[in-house]
Symmetry: C2
Amino acid sequence: MELLQDAVKQYGPLCVGLDTDSSYIPKNILSLYENPAFAVLDYNKKLIDAIVRDKTACCFKVQIAYYEAMGICGMEAYSKTLKYIKSKNFIAISDVKRGDIASTAEAYARAHFLGDFETDIITINPYMGFDTLKPFLEFCKTNGKGIFVLLRTSNTGMVDIEQRVLSASQGALQNSMRVLDVVGTELERILCEMNKIFPNQKCSPCGAVVGCTEESDAQFLREAHPNLFFLIPGYGAQGGDVRICATLLKDAGGVVNSSRGILCAWKKDALLKEKRNSETLAMEDIVESATRAALLAKKDLMNCITKNGAQL
Amino acid sequence: MELLQDAVKQYGPLCVGLDTDSSYIPKNILSLYENPAFAVLDYNKKLIDAIVRDKTACCFKVQIAYYEAMGICGMEAYSKTLKYIKSKNFIAISDVKRGDIASTAEAYARAHFLGDFETDIITINPYMGFDTLKPFLEFCKTNGKGIFVLLRTSNTGMVDIEQRVLSASQGALQNSMRVLDVVGTELERILCEMNKIFPNQKCSPCGAVVGCTEESDAQFLREAHPNLFFLIPGYGAQGGDVRICATLLKDAGGVVNSSRGILCAWKKDALLKEKRNSETLAMEDIVESATRAALLAKKDLMNCITKNGAQL
């Protein structure tokens, strides 16, 4: 996580999301490949090359769901995408949102921190309780890995559970504490634990997922957790606001993910209108379009950071 | 889910959990296979054969974490295990506990209800909100699939979030409603919705995961949700009580999972002591031991059901 914080200083806070569903690739391009997963891998690799070349992003986030949906070939494309990111010395975040009882969580930790699906950082769902985080934290302590725990997600449904206010009658709980604040409190406890183990580390290996879809909550969570590093979804296609990103990037900072806004940029790219209509788009065209969209996203974020007084 | 309810009547409520970690197979047996995943698949197939032959269980639950931990070969073993269960006309529950924003949940639904990893029923984590359930419910409506949503899990950490009491000041919320009761309320709403679409169906395709580790909660949840079908973890190695299972099996009923208690039965089997000590166990030995453990688990459950007045 510390390496990621350093990478933000070097390349800016944009995280390119490789949530590459095969439907994000034009049909005429897909038809050139034996299997949609091969097209996805090729798109990923060419986009990674361009992002690394232009220094547009500090890391890549790979959403495993889209690869699982393509079966075994998809899982091979997932594994190869992670290996390709590593070969470029860039940091990979695997968006897996796993969460299970400790013995099973231990298997998930091995699955994503070792072997074919090895990655640097994974996202974790804390719903089943904090015993379920422990196997992942062991890898943070001993293998330099990191986790982002769901704190406040960017979807509308987050009001259903995350935002529920808890009863104040429960012992030490402060008034108007929400479910998500219980998670935040645990992340602070983990921060203290990690600071004791690694006193020279600038950044806890256990960060938080905080969506950029609501300003007041973003301010509250940034102030409540100044030392937590954030993974920020919701920017771009999900309608999140760049000013909210700037709020969340203050203090310990974070990375801002954009997936569909970049991967599907070709669908709205005026420069590609003719080729799109005649179904003659080439892989190079959609990669260039995504590359331009990523550069624009980076500029957008950097401008807003400067205006809002956040520092990288 | 209706088919599973019927299968319980035919075979009893035991669900055999194929959470087959390679460490659950003796080293001398593992060494005979080129890859641990091949040994796992072989163990699974031979155990499925024996369970189907003896009619010991109504279904199998496959915990994907242990297969993910073995990488691509593991995912192939996972896929083949599901196909093998299907070939025997038995029902497969995939314990994946996925949960993500709707567009990603849609990819997870395709991943587990179609293609290489196709299964009959999956487990779902509802933490991110009820919009995240919709893509899975679509498959329940149109493809005959089912889901079990986490309601009350069997791990100690379930006090951290699931059991938190909510503030009564929040509009229509009843007093002392917990986080998990919000999930229960949503499952009842889905039940009504499904009853309208399928008025002749005896059982909602959307059931709940309820652990058998606490009697009073089991009684409360069975009474609160008489028409929900339960997946019941915690029995066996996790220390859950068979009497609590009997409580949960009343009304709409459910299935009781046992994984390690069956898969690792060879480790404590008195009949195998000599072979265990001399490291001469064969695959057939551990399969027979697991088969006997499953038969005992079934007997244990059936006896307790009869005593406690539950009906299958």
